[in-house]
């Protein structure tokens, strides 16, 4: 009983984690399935065939490539625009701060179906043909806010004395930005970029409204769901999952190492996470 009281919360946590991972396990498991009909719902025997033919469906490949291209462009544009906004919010005084904050928060708190529908109705009215460009416009729009939130929490923990030191040593503004500010900001930028990439790659609802004849990976899946999703989709999803997890683990290890190095520095600035008040305990964690 005593044991249960002490460990109950951990056991519950373990169960929840298992619950969260079950669908992923099912996706991976069914990538080895050999389904009888078109629907990959029931287990019918193990096969590696679909892993061998992972890239044999041209439409699916095109959709995946379109998604990756779209996500890459979205990441670049949204990270630049979002970082600029975050810089202004944290480091400068200006009129209309409240309005700027509101403009950043509201897209994050609007239902996607409304955002997508509103954009489409404007594109229809303006007689813009929907396609890759309108998708890019939409994706950048919903990613900017998330980039701002992530980069800004990194900027808040930023030791500005390092920049002053660079200036004192004769660096001009541009050199300081390039050699001090951006490298120190890099983990935040990487985190924000990864978030934007993931959001763009995963988006279905807003894309469904503004895609025209362009097909992204999620749109392909939605279209295929009616007539049976090919097993190759499971294979690709499992591949993407595996690669992302490996990348995350690599970043995690690298970050831990960097933190160990950074902790040699004598002073610890209070770190701020992305949801509230500054912590009083010393921490050098990134905002990611």
């Amino acid at each position: 009983m005593q044991w249960l009281r002490r460990n109950g919360v951990m056991i519950f946590g373990g169960l929840v984690i298992a619950y969260m991972l079950i669908p992923i396990a099912v996706i991976a498991l069914f990538s080895f399935n050999d389904p009888e009909g078109k629907f990959n719902f029931t287990w019918n025997g193990f096969t590696l065939d679909h892993w061998g033919s992972a890239f044999s469906i041209p439409d699916l490949n095109d959709a995946l490539l379109t998604s990756i291209e779209l996500a890459a462009l979205t990441t670049i544009i949204a990270t630049i625009l979002g970082t600029m906004i975050a810089m202004a919010l944290v480091r400068h005084q200006f009129h209309g701060r409240k309005a700027a904050n509101l403009l950043i928060v509201i897209p994050m708190t609007s239902p996607e179906v409304v955002i997508g529908a509103a954009l489409l109705s404007m594109f229809v009215y303006a007689q813009v043909t929907t396609g890759f460009v309108t998708l890019l416009i939409a994706h950048v729009m919903f990613c900017i806010s998330f980039v701002v939130v992530v980069v800004r929490s990194r900027l808040i923990g930023f030791d500005r004395r390092l920049e002053e030191a660079a200036r004192d040593l004769g660096a001009d503004g541009w050199t300081t930005l390039r050699t001090v500010t951006l490298p120190l900001l890099a983990p935040g930028l990487v985190a924000a970029g990864m978030l934007a990439f993931a959001l763009s790659l995963d988006d279905f609802v807003i894309s469904n409204f503004n895609s025209g004849t362009t097909v992204t990976f999620p749109l392909y899946i939605f279209g295929a769901a009616q007539r049976g999703i090919p097993v190759e989709v499971n294979v690709l999803a499992t591949m993407i999952f595996g690669l992302t997890v490996l990348a995350m683990i690599a970043t995690l290890i690298q970050q831990t190492r960097a933190e160990k190095l950074a902790s040699v520095r004598p002073d610890d600035d209070a770190d701020v996470g992305f949801g509230g008040t500054p912590a009083t305990k010393p921490a050098t964690g990134a905002a990611a």
Partner: protein, 290 residues
């Protein structure tokens, strides 16, 4: 003058491109949709702007069941998320020790597979000849002619699953930065662990809980993927209606009116939130910047 432009102009220069993008492709479409919602006419005749408020009453009276259903499903899913997420966040923040980053990775792992594929996986798991239905039928929770797909239970379960990380992460963030010495202090002052939790931990995590509730409820209430993958027309939510009206029946006025009613309800919720906790706490506190 030039010096002024250089110093005072910088923030505006930094803000301009991003905020312009948000204004042109978010605010403007919203305003535009608002005007569409007041048009009169149909595809066959012509559209005319007549301050046709009847679109709103039509939309509400035609689709009131879907509105109520959406708020009900999203509400139940949000409550379930909170009940599941709080203990888990607590465990990750205070009990996990060196496993902390691994557990956090597991929490965001679902994001590494496409939302649609996750929902599709639930379709597989809950399918009529799947393990879950078999098990429930054998222990008598379901009769032999009852299934899970195309029921409210399946849709709510899908919503709960898909939006759970949005509840976990803010609660975890608020618990993680809490000064644990506060609990020690409470214990030193002879409070029971239960009182310490209720009087110290819970209030400190309140902003996280509040943010989590909004971040879960808002996408859930507008969702239509779960209802279309795991439910039937009997479980259609307001998102399904808006999507159908916009893309299939092209009933733009009603769809716009519905979107705007949904949007208005959410803006009200956000304003309540800002009054409750302040916009800064949703965004991170820049006053802390040095």
């Amino acid at each position: 003058m030039k010096a002024w432009a250089q110093k005072r102009g910088i923030p505006y220069f930094l803000l301009l491109p991003g905020l312009a993008w948000l204004t042109i492709f978010f605010v403007l479409p919203m305003i535009f949709m608002f005007t569409v919602s007041l048009y009169e006419g149909s595809l066959d005749t012509t559209y005319e702007f007549t301050w046709h408020w009847a679109n709103y009453s039509d939309a509400l009276s035609q689709f009131d069941t879907q509105f109520v259903r959406s708020f009900l499903y999203a509400g139940i899913a949000t409550m379930l998320c909170l009940l599941i997420a709080y203990p888990l966040s607590y465990a990750i923040a205070f009990k996990a020790g060196r496993w902390q980053s691994v557990l956090l990775l597991a929490v965001i792992a679902p994001f590494f597979t496409t939302y649609l594929i996750r929902t599709y996986a639930w379709q597989t798991i809950l399918s009529n000849d799947g393990v879950v239905v078999d098990f429930f039928q054998s222990i008598g929770i379901l009769n032999s002619d009852e299934y899970l797909l195309k029921t409210p239970t399946a849709v709510i379960a899908g919503l709960t699953y898909n939006f759970l990380p949005f509840m976990i992460l803010p609660i975890y963030a608020s618990l993680e930065q809490m000064d644990q010495r506060l609990i020690e202090a409470a214990r030193d002052l002879y409070s029971s662990s239960r009182t310490a939790f209720l009087k110290v931990t819970l209030p400190i995590s309140a902003p996280g809980v509040f943010a989590g509730v909004l971040l879960t409820f808002i996408p859930a209430v507008g969702d239509y993927v779960n209802a279309s993958f795991l439910g039937s027309s009997q479980q259609a939510m307001i998102g399904n209606v808006i999507q159908g009206a916009f893309l299939r029946t092209k009933d733009y006025q009603i769809a716009s009116a519905l979107s705007f009613i949904l949007m208005a309800l959410i803006v009200v919720a956000v304003f309540v939130y800002i009054r409750f906790a302040g916009s800064e706490s949703l965004m991170g506190d820049e006053e802390a910047a040095t």
